[in-house]
Symmetry: C2
Subunit: 470 residues, 2 copies
């Protein structure tokens, strides 16, 4: 009986195991997960934390027991793989409960070790009351701390997606929230115009934000609040500190086994999720993904990609020949009353990749003329000067996540902004004005790509908070 | 000074006039509108009627005065064109206020006469308390009637978009609402599975619906309610009757002038909105539009198309060379708590057009696992058996209007369901599950198109109300 082993049982890992077993029911499928939980929706943690009455275990989709009985998968939680011997197709595994070591041979191996929260070089990260938020155990610890701590001061280090989502969560739970960001804007990687709108939304909800701030240390305060975050712009008292400064792929095990990494530092894979070592696949947040706009592998660790890659890796580990279709860099999150989304490349990213790129900013209403409750949607499109090829899109406002998907689809189809402007999109006053913000954005971008290169509409970009440009 | 004349001043007409004047400021631009209003959002009428406190004039985007002073357009309301003499490029116009007739010559003419509500052969359509809903004057009359009539019994004849929207409006205003539909389902033209979900939503909100019912007459009842609608399944008392059974293009003027109509009965135009008569353009609900999936002109009168076509007609009437990019048949509306949308072809429509088409039904959640408030989204995809080319998509549920736009974009890009399945779409628990309903629908359709022709998954289509098929 062939044995397929999967290292890691969260998103990509459980997808791989389930797919392998479905594809090859006669195979033995083993999942080795270092932590106590498998198969949970990590992206749902902020929303779970917002509601004190819900147990964090609500996020678990499938327990190890159900994986065993319903899917026939041998899930071993708290089993850590210490090394991979690719030549003899064998793993050294440690059972963390008993400290017993054992070897496990495999016919095919899927590495789905995920990513870890980046730990910035800040003294005091290990103090009580300081949290990362990556694994379900992190969420569980934070949830317990929140249950035991009266709402007071919260400091969030890092203004990425998670930092934004958690600003809302902690504000909703009654905390005064301060966000500290090292770079000069919130949501780094988004265009300044989009970041500006996010900042305004944070402001409307009473979140204090400091950008270009350097955190020196997290210290014990000796009173209440129990902590303070020392920075180059003063110290911020904190009952709870959340550090959320990005993630790093967990590749130590693969690297030690001689499995090649790509230029991004994540594990290199082909479209079939094969590493360069025979019989070894990788998927999810530890692996690269082919970026269809860049035309090369990229590292964009996100849940959807992890699940899709896991499915492909599992199918192919079981003898299939599936292909992962690649990414265009689509991502979205919500902060208070606005959705924020992006797909493709930002302006700087496009220029670094060699395109003569422009960015065009626009604003338009989310709903029809005279329909109540309409709000502004701000859009920035990135396109190639001259040809008008769409390279990226970012939006903030009401109902933008699925609008961004229209741009993502256009990127898959290698459309120009002219082609986007011609799209026959849905219109009814509750969802869209006669000209959807997507079409308005394309019109503005079409004019911009036709303009001779005189520095782009950087002025308009800076002023997107102002008048409507349609 | 060249003179550009536009007949009709609602959507396409005002777009044409504005564009013509912008493109050619030296031209005289005249708009001749039979009714008292120009430039209003007819699609917003239901939502305006829902709120007794808002005047119907809120829907007017631009008054004739502002069109004159701000845009330099000579707008003449209550001026009716009696005939077009294409040989000498001259119109016979009647001023309805003074009954005076005059001739007006043109260099270029844009016909934007719109469409009228279909009047079914039912005796009593002209009784007091019976309304059509097409022009702003219709909305105004209905609004006044509602203001004077205590909420009682309302009967809606016709279960298309407008009928559905008005069912919600009248219910919200406190009426008992009965919808009578001649065909065997609500929202004719939508797949049965979608219609089923719409029917369920109507039921949840206490709207009574009778399908396959034949209306005999609208009669005076001699008491309160003042009317009754007699059908082959009994008589329905009514304080207000709304008749909403589709629209017909207003082509009498064009036909009399020898301007050729297309096979659909609307005015035939090329991509530049030129009719076959030199110097005469047509745009909006009186004209055909090229359907990119069908590969031939179609008649799908909708506001967005009217505005876009108007812009192209106006630009070209002013000497430009713009092209209208065509339609894929995208439309959406809201009824109570659900959005309903479609793009491309339905199954029967695709088969009539010669495709070996299948339909694949699926259901999936609108939001992430364990995120509160998730609802079901039902999707039906139509695709070509074998090749998997996407031909159409219909959805009902939460946040589907802009999801339908993803399918519309895929239709513009001539994508297959495999390609749709590979799209990198946004994911975050508030907006989508890990696999968006779009991707689930594509997976189900991919399997279906690969199946040998044994009658399709008609069984699954019938049972879409049941279990999840993902």
């Amino acid at each position: 009986m062939p044995r397929i082993v999967v290292i890691g049982g969260v998103a990509a890992g459980m997808s791989a195991a389930s797919q392998a077993k479905r594809r090859s029911p006669e195979s033995e499928v083993v999942v080795l997960e270092r932590g106590p939980f498998v198969s949970y929706g990590a992206c749902g943690m902020p929303y779970n934390l917002e509601d004190p009455s819900r147990p964090i275990e609500d996020l678990v989709v499938l327990t190890p027991e159900r994986a065993r009985t319903e899917r026939g998968i041998d899930v071993r939680t708290r089993h850590e793989v210490e090394s991979i011997e690719t030549g003899v197709r064998r793993l050294i595994v440690r059972d963390l409960a008993t400290e017993a070591r054992y070897t496990l041979s495999y016919d095919a191996l899927v590495i789905a070790t995920g990513a870890s929260a980046a730990k910035p070089a800040i003294p005091g990260l290990d103090r009580s009351g300081v949290f990362l938020l990556r694994e379900l155990t992190d969420g569980s610890a934070l949830k317990q701390h929140l249950a035991e701590t009266p709402a007071g001061q919260a400091v969030i280090v890092g203004a990425g997606y998670i930092g934004m989502e958690m600003a809302e969560v902690l504000r909703t739970r009654g905390f005064d929230v301060t966000v500290l960001e090292k770079l000069d804007q919130v949501v780094p990687g988004f265009e300044p115009a989009i970041a500006e709108a996010v900042l305004a939304e944070l402001g409307r909800h009473g979140v204090r934000v400091l950008t270009s701030v350097s955190v020196g240390a997290i210290e014990r305060a000796g009173g209440a609040p129990a902590l303070q975050v020392r920075t180059d712009r003063g110290a911020f008292p904190a009952d709870v500190v959340l550090v959320s400064t990005g993630v790093r792929p967990n590749v130590a095990l693969a690297r030690a086994a001689g499995i090649p990494l790509g230029a991004t530092g994540a594990i290199a894979v082909d479209a079939g999720m094969r590493t360069e070592v025979p019989g070894v696949f990788a998927a999810g947040d530890c692996a690269e993904a082919y970026h269809l706009v860049l035309g090369r592998p990229a590292y964009v660790p996100l849940g959807t990609t992890a699940n899709k890659q896991g499915k492909v890796a599992g199918a192919n580990a079981a003898g299939g020949d599936e292909r992962f279709g690649g990414i265009v860099g689509t991502a979205a999150f919500k902060v208070f009353g606005v959705e924020v989304g992006r797909t493709g490349l930002g302006l700087a990213e496009a220029r670094r990749a060699g395109w003569g790129a422009i960015a065009a900013a626009s604003q338009h209403s989310s709903r029809g003329h005279a329909y109540p409750g309409a709000r502004k949607i701000a859009t920035v499109l990135v396109a190639e000067r001259g040809t008008g090829r769409l390279l990226g899109a970012q939006m903030v406002g009401e109902a933008v996540a699925k609008r961004v998907d229209v741009f993502a689809t256009a990127l898959h189809g290698r459309m120009t902004v002219d082609e986007v402007e011609s799209l026959d999109l849905s219109y009814a006053p509750p969802f869209a004005p006669v000209y959807d913000p997507i079409l308005i954005a394309a019109t503005v971008a079409r004019k911009e790509v036709a303009r001779p290169d005189t520095g782009g509409n950087d002025q308009a970009l800076a002023a997107v908070g102002g008048a409507q440009r349609a």
